[in-house]
Symmetry: C2
Subunit: 323 residues, 2 copies
Amino acid sequence: MRKSAFFAALMLTASGLAACQPAASPPPPPVEPVSNIPAAPEGATPSVQDILAKSTPEEWRALDPENTLYMDFAPANGSPGGRVVIELAPDFAPNHVANIKTLSREGYFTNGAVTRVQDNYVTQWAQAAEPERAPKQGQKTLKAEFTRPHDTTVGFDVLPDPDTYAPEVGFSNGFPAARDKTSMWLVHCYGVVGAGRDNSDDSGGGTELYAINGVPPRGLDRNLTVVGRVIQGMELLSALPRGTEALGFYKTPAEYRRYADIKVAADVPADKRTDLEVLRTDSATFSTLVNSRRWRKDDFYHVPAGRIGLCNINVPFRPRQAS
Amino acid sequence: MRKSAFFAALMLTASGLAACQPAASPPPPPVEPVSNIPAAPEGATPSVQDILAKSTPEEWRALDPENTLYMDFAPANGSPGGRVVIELAPDFAPNHVANIKTLSREGYFTNGAVTRVQDNYVTQWAQAAEPERAPKQGQKTLKAEFTRPHDTTVGFDVLPDPDTYAPEVGFSNGFPAARDKTSMWLVHCYGVVGAGRDNSDDSGGGTELYAINGVPPRGLDRNLTVVGRVIQGMELLSALPRGTEALGFYKTPAEYRRYADIKVAADVPADKRTDLEVLRTDSATFSTLVNSRRWRKDDFYHVPAGRIGLCNINVPFRPRQAS
């Protein structure tokens, strides 16, 4: 069983590594003072439910079945079964997304397993066959897709609140994202899914994936290819027993949490789909929601923060409404 | 079973609340541009282990048994048993800390239970007796201890990196903390423990406690009394099944995860203690460690962030070394 894909470097010492390091990228520019945070709403802030009740149908978008994955678990070992719904991010990782779909369609993911759960870090899964089967049409490795050019062909709904790590953050079609003057990248918030790799940038491809289960490890941004995010069912990945080997790997295959398969939603019969829609992050209702959480003040909250962090914002979703 | 202690307001609508709100506190001042982040170390950054290997004994402090709690679980339902070690924060919540110790010493916590696990938010525990037993010497409620004055009688090791929520952050004797010109407060990072309350600020006291199990919900800062932080054993609280009632409460007592007791370490025989020491956050080794994580660049990390978030810093601990 290959256990080295993700963060193997943690186990190495620093001796002899300096010579093979690429040049450091320049540090991000300082965050500028923020002057454009919207003012506090008058009076008590409304609940999420009340805000969403006033949304219009056009402010929601259905998940695209061609860019949605279902990771289906059967009940086992006292854990409930269920479905993890993952939205893929072809705007940021087109080649990885295409490859993951190819891998799914050739059965590569069938009867795979969660092999690693490191507390406050990542839940990771892989084929877990012994010996590991090679992909057929799919690729084992791809060129990294850590960032994409900063351009206007994809959306970027700016969050004006200061961010510790990036000069500018916001949402790109619902995905937490960051950018500087030249690049854009997806951010490792809770539930964000990325492609595990070995030490080389180009050693991942989507055969091994992880989801963030704790404090957003923002140091991973621009070092890993983010391929999507969990929309629903994250608790099936976050509530698993932590592995007791180094880096949270399970000691033995007997501890693995097996999943039945990872399927592209479009390949699942319509009546077996989990048909969800997501609030558009460029909608007026989303802006209202973010500002009400930023200035939250109600029966329970008495001191509004006046700020909100990118990864503290949950983009609402719901079963798709009849149109 | 009282389920309303924490975040009951989430279930309320906003109607009729405006009249009873206290005046909003002023928003925090804008974060100023950061100019004092230390430069990147030369070459590859060393591992945590290598940095700690060079520390001196004086850079570590033993946990004080009078300000340490043990929350002991027996194995059950496939979950491992074990001990959660919590360091209390008397500098910030002296009355709550004293009350929690009194409650422990009168047996209030014996055979309590985790009653709520909300994914990416909080794990919460309570006495869970039916009917709930009243405290004897301990208090059910206390005046809130959300903040303390900004003064120099407690340490504050500044982290120069910009923070989304507070004008200044850092560590106060190992606790993640923030301050403005007048106040200091503890920050809701992963594993931080606070006192649940009802809607009134002064309705908590330590009979019901919670630990953060996901993205730091920084909007709670200055709205709840933080009483301590989990040093070891957080996985016993984070890997539990999520509750399926509103706010993550378990549906029935049969789902509760019972603990044997919560004891003050000083009340436990010396040979049954978990004798830990923590790296001082005012030590040179801690500064070196933080900067190496800020600029992490090694076999695996190729693009250093150049920044680090308060809640992304894990303060090292280890078994107490023979002196």
